[in-house]
Subunit: 381 residues, 2 copies
Amino acid sequence: MRTRSCKLLSFASHPPREKTFSRLTSAMVKAFLMSGATEEQLILTGKKTGRTTIHEVARAAGISISTASKALNDTGRMTDDTRERVKRIAAEIGYRPNALARGLLSKRSFTIGLLTNDTYGRFTLPVMAGISEALVDHGVSVFLCAIEDDPALGQIHVEAMLDKQVDGIIATGKRLDRRLPVDLSNLHVPVVYAFTEGAPNSVTFRSDDEQGARLAVEWLRKLGRRRIVHITGPEDFFSVRERAASYRAIVGRDAEVMSGVWSESWGHDAIAAIWSRVAEKPDGIFCGNDQIARGVIDALRERGLKVPQDVSVVGFDNWEIVAAQTRPPLTTVDMELKELGRQAGLTVLALAEGRTVEPGIRKLPCRLIVRQSCGGDTLGI
Amino acid sequence: MRTRSCKLLSFASHPPREKTFSRLTSAMVKAFLMSGATEEQLILTGKKTGRTTIHEVARAAGISISTASKALNDTGRMTDDTRERVKRIAAEIGYRPNALARGLLSKRSFTIGLLTNDTYGRFTLPVMAGISEALVDHGVSVFLCAIEDDPALGQIHVEAMLDKQVDGIIATGKRLDRRLPVDLSNLHVPVVYAFTEGAPNSVTFRSDDEQGARLAVEWLRKLGRRRIVHITGPEDFFSVRERAASYRAIVGRDAEVMSGVWSESWGHDAIAAIWSRVAEKPDGIFCGNDQIARGVIDALRERGLKVPQDVSVVGFDNWEIVAAQTRPPLTTVDMELKELGRQAGLTVLALAEGRTVEPGIRKLPCRLIVRQSCGGDTLGI
DNA sequence: CTGAAAGCGCTTACAG
DNA sequence: CTGAAAGCGCTTACAG
């Protein structure tokens, strides 16, 4: 604990003498002021400088701190004149209420914790932005806790957040069919899950991958593509199975699904495999993510095939850095993660304020971003 | 302000009757306990459930709260036995100190603010991870404030942070030669800049681009490349000029620098331009970032040139998602942004604790990540 | 209409 | 060795 010793110029003696105190009480300050010192002459060493308190406001306005408090918070009753004057003075001397003190009383810290295991991730970044954006309007600040996949680190962060009296916690991750390595049930603050698997009976936000896949495949169909294949990621991903099911629901029970990994090179390999076969070639390819789509497009070009004239390609994720750099730019599905974050933020807030929220999984619709890899354009939808 | 009304079972009457109070004082609780209620029988509606306070610890241990506090903080004097017993009891009943209350006294919130204008960004993400990692060990949590390039939003976030009594602020951005759109000088908390331009006389951390560029070019030279060109981003970037200067210092005053934009397609275009000329072709290409390098490698391959046999290519950034997916994988310069974040974190912490830190710009060394686009290997360095 | 007092959950100087 | 008291910066029920 830091020393809190203070120095004051004592005007009790002449000339004024500096005295050191182990602790400075307001009574002592008063005594010194009575003895002739102006406030500017007080030298406070241990006390952090800067922040003015409600005491200063009250003193400057010549009223009690209770009245100052009520004036500033638009509570209590007093003449409009008094209220305005207090507010004006507070603004003049740069008064800002101490949120710690407020929080101690109100049991609300206007703070929430955001837990993620996706440090470098593509997915949590927009989610975070959405949360932050939604909550800043309500005066709520967000603690960022990057816990990797380390349960011990997760525990440490959760405890630090609870100690700081967060009003709620949002858990987010890189995969919506995996849990964070930390147990968030039975906390005494509300928890909301976003793009990660939630505890039973919790509120969970996720993208509607089934609908997203449908958008992509229907777009291919609408453009006249009839021989469509699906090149996607590992089957143990829930979203892979869901997107594939949606694709098959449209294209047909036995429509081809090629599962691999989430990489460009898998896109290449898949095209090599398809084009080495004698069977009829596809005229439309629905890719499980944008990286695969990138590999697919490159591989098609290397084979002398034109995208979208010969083959239409659609991706998933709308990862700008990939989607905008393919040749041609990629038509793809956007999971609207920022909106997902916004809703998650507003929901913890609601819970923190005691409003009730139905538990369950909320699927948020995806949006098709039309660029040039399929042909067609937005007007064609 | 939420209602804080409470209900208690009154044992003064028989049978016990529920009474509602607008406010529950500890004296009232005591009175009810005296009247025969056990604690479990108290029904507290308005009071948030859950958190046990130091009062509970003291009561459970049969000591005063002062002694409990001292026992838990390893201050004051008492028998080891008492201290251990208090700690054990505190652990048993799950006591955790309220950081808001502590902060009110100690003037330390164990909280810092991280300001960034790079929401989706590649650069601030590792910086953030480094900060968080360094500070979690010291019990410090990080407020994430994404301010885009909006001065008003920046102001709001800064005020929210100050209201919450952050111990310091770290400013970070997507470009080290641009300021955040918010003035952080003259705050009464310490500010550290990381990967963004700092105020005069501040502490600023940045990567040593000159040294990074030197690593890249010297690597090409060491591998026997003698006709080296530099394909890079827009000249108004300070880092572009710095890397170019470093490259010229090694390769020669008049060595060719091609400035364009930070994209794959510029890499393509630059190669097309070079190969359309009659002059001798380069055998080594130093690219200003990994995306340009990706375009360069693709363009070379499309021309039937082999990387690295015919031409060595080196990038800058070590952006995994790009560098690991080029064919062949890209040798590139890593700016060690996570380490940069760690140091920035430890530095605000030092300042917050009142230790003095020399102001100035600290350049942190980059590291060459050897993959296969240049030939050679780590042993060859 | 306004202020004194109690209290949020802690810590610490001081007095026993 | 231990506890009562004051206080951090606020808010609010209550009494004038």
